[in-house]
Symmetry: C2
Subunit: 487 residues, 2 copies
């Protein structure tokens, strides 16, 4: 149980990897190629269901993993027990510390398929070793930030609270999911630990069991309002929403008013027809003289259902979203991958690509910078992926290649400005960027999304955003496809 205890304390995550990464890096050590300089890129292939863009998240988790990456004696003892590896590998592991360079998009940045989101450049050993952990951390947080962004969009200007902890994949599914949801646009989380760790606002009311633990619903409401007079949001559906819950809640709000307390009546609906119940409850509260009640809805919500309730005129003005957010129900994984894009040979970076019988899955070669061109109002027009050796145009008409139809030239017209999306965050193993508070990341995401024209943001069938290859990257890709022996 000692190993379990060390893990529960998270002393390190060095073994948080697929075995095959270790198999490969042991091979590199054996062949003396562990320091061969290479560059890998993290990108994703297809959009999660319905999304016009993803919201990048998870970088901070990856950088923290990287900072703590080293193999303990305990790890080495375990690996030795597998009978797969030789001593040269264990000797190497004992003193290994990462010395790679990492460039990445800021968390909160909208990103598109095939764009480099994180780039790791360094020795073959370290670049390969970190693959699984990077994918694990970036894929999940990016997925949830994206889902949250869509849900917040559907809720228009209403606050959305993330309530998913009980259906998340374990503790850090819940904690990192709450962080990602906040970055994506949620206003608060129910998760107290995420609140403590990241300073995310926490929110919550009470459960049915509170009501059931009292002799009557009215007593339960009265006790709750006495305890939390500032924000008594009463859950009104334990027995019967309109016959019992709402009338009892109104009684309690009236009592508070009669005692001279300032009160904004608030209820939560967690079952039934949320459109009808919210309208009825609103009417009943208005009749009692409460004009501006807070009506929170929860229960298996996600973006389409919220949009639908909005269309039906539901009188809901805050949303609690749990299960379907934290699991990204309709597309519960992001297809993020991590691929070799260039190898340093005799002092030169030589582009590499991977293809299979499925040419559509051919990767884009070269160490790449993603440049986002915007118009005079700051609206993004399209992105171009450049080789680092190129000097991207800053404005004007930008010509590039379509990613899959390399013969098709395509262009961005009248660009006014260019934003380089990848920044260096780790240089030769040393962190060179300050960790951002989650609040700042969320603001960045809000502003970056708002800059996109509406057609890229809508819930269904968003406009496809233009991502092109530069002339050089397109040319290299074409050459490699035409000459498979150079892959």
């Amino acid at each position: 149980m000692d190993a379990a205890r060390a893990w529960s304390r998270r002393e390190n995550l060095a073994l948080l990897t697929d075995l095959y990464e270790l198999t490969m890096v042991a091979g590199y050590v054996r062949e003396g190629r562990q320091d061969k300089r290479v560059c890998f890129e993290y990108f994703f292939r297809t959009m999660p269901s319905g999304a016009g863009f993803v919201i990048v998240a998870g970088l901070e988790s990856f950088l923290s993993y990287l900072e703590n990456l080293q193999f303990t004696d305990d790890d080495i003892t375990y690996l030795r027990s597998l009978g797969l590896f030789q001593d040269d590998f264990f000797d190497y592991l004992r003193t290994f510390r990462p010395a790679c360079t990492v460039r990445a998009m800021r968390e909160g940045t909208p990103a598109f398929p095939s764009e480099p989101i994180v780039q790791v450049e360094g020795g073959l050993f370290e670049c390969q070793l970190v693959e699984t952990a990077l994918l694990n951390l970036m894929n999940y947080e990016t997925l949830i930030a994206t889902k949250a962004s869509r849900i917040a969009y559907a809720a228009e200007n209403d606050p959305v609270m993330e309530f998913g902890l009980r259906r998340a994949q374990g503790p850090d599914g819940g904690v990192s999911g709450a962080r990602a949801a906040y970055i994506g646009g949620c206003s608060a989380t129910s998760n107290a630990l995420a609140g403590k760790l990241y300073g995310i606002p926490v929110a919550g009311t009470h459960a049915h069991s509170w009501v059931m633990s009292f002799e009557s619903e009215l007593e339960a409401f009265r006790a709750f309002a006495n305890l939390y007079p500032k924000s008594p949001t009463l859950l009104v559906d334990t027995y019967d929403t309109l016959e019992s819950g709402v009338p009892n809640a109104i009684t309690v709000f009236e009592e508070m008013r009669n005692q001279g307390k300032e009160v904004r009546p608030a209820i939560r609906l967690d079952s039934g027809d949320l459109a009808r119940l919210s309208k009825e409850a609103h009417r009943m509260m208005a009749e009692a003289g409460f004009d501006d009640p807070l009506i929170v809805a929860s229960n298996e919500l996600e973006e389409d259902l919220i949009a639908d309730l909005k269309r039906q005129g539901a009188r809901v003005n805050a949303w609690g979203v749990g299960t379907h957010l934290i699991t990204a129900r309709d597309t519960p994984s992001l297809s993020g991958v991590y691929k070799l894009v260039s190898v340093r040979e005799s002092g030169e970076w030589v582009p590499r690509m991977k293809t299979t019988s499925n040419i559509g899955k051919a990767t884009d070669p070269c160490r790449k910078q993603a440049v986002r061109y915007v118009d005079a109002e700051g609206h993004p027009l399209g992105d171009v992926l450049y080789d680092f050796v190129e000097r991207p145009a800053e404005s004007g008409d930008i010509i590039g290649y379509n990613r899959t139809q390399l013969r098709a030239h395509t262009r961005i017209r009248d660009a006014h400005d260019a934003h380089h999306l990848l920044e260096t965050v780790v240089e030769d193993g040393r962190r060179v960027s300050e960790p951002q508070p989650v609040e700042a990341i969320r603001s960045h995401a809000q502003a970056a999304k708002a800059a996109f024209r509406e057609e890229y943001r809508r819930l269904r069938n968003p406009e496809i955003y233009k991502v092109m290859l530069s002339e050089r990257v397109g040319g290299v890709k074409g050459d490699l496809l035409a000459n498979p022996e150079q892959w």
Copy 2:
């Protein structure tokens, strides 16, 4: 960042909870009801897509959370900063340690909707407090064990390897998912950390990047086979599976044979038409004199696709399953809930139930034992939920109530034996059961599943297993439904 560091070391998970649990328990302290004796049960309402039963998992994680449950000064400082709570609550938290009793089904046990899987009996404070963490831990592991069980069933007797870490919800999504997958029937995991922590067999081959880091595929294969002569599983689809990958692999296996090495040729297919490619690859290897190759298939597999490949006669004899297993793609959450079932009043247990406008969601009252009746061959016939005060019949014809049609008597005929499924694992806060090695849990699951007749185990439209209420539980439920003021 100190809080983040403490979390990364997992010193405790006391704040791993929805805020509303804290809001409620603070209320119980304020009202002096924190020690009122109550009983909650964890159960789920609906089967994950297609499943005939779930495989219970996650209990060990919950018990470990419970053992370490206490509030640090740091936690209390954070809670104080919210401005929601009073000093009496913080005083209580400072010395709080759980003293509850926990009864639970063994991990690996097949379970059905509405059956108590975990029962927590103790003070109102502690029973309420643990809700979110219990749901978080049990829902996810049970979901993944169930999905793994279905995938292993589809693979018939072939080994299934869990490859999901890169698409899991963060580190413990991956680690606890690997554990659950093994319990459910997988044979190995790619996750080295899960291997180290739980002793699960680890497996893996190499990635496309291994091949791409060499001048040629043949060199890459040769190097890999030299390094790992015992188990060189070669990934053959980096360039072209049948034109390049399989011929190169055969060349390497022939070289090994010529050197007098004993070799079982093994390849992995990770793209394309797995049925056709596996048949062709098998034929090519057989022509080269390798009669019994290991052909591993991976790439977006899950139970239906594996069953389909089997029907097509694919020559695959081992399966690598990642994304869709670790996310339980078709039903990415288990609808597990935790409800108050009984309250101790003046020395008597008084049953409670929760209902809403949706009567179908009415819970089953009483502190319950689940009894599984089996026939003379040990095949389960049906389960009956008894109140603890009852003495379940041990054999013969068992009469009970349908859960939702309480007027309908139903019966189990000719029961030969009765297994009581809930065991006491924690008594007054003290662990009384030994933690089971994951190997033993997996064996228990295999044997318990095998006892069920085929119609309950099949992939699609399994027979609905009988779960009845005892006469007493059914009677209490009927009375409560008829007299809502007693709910």
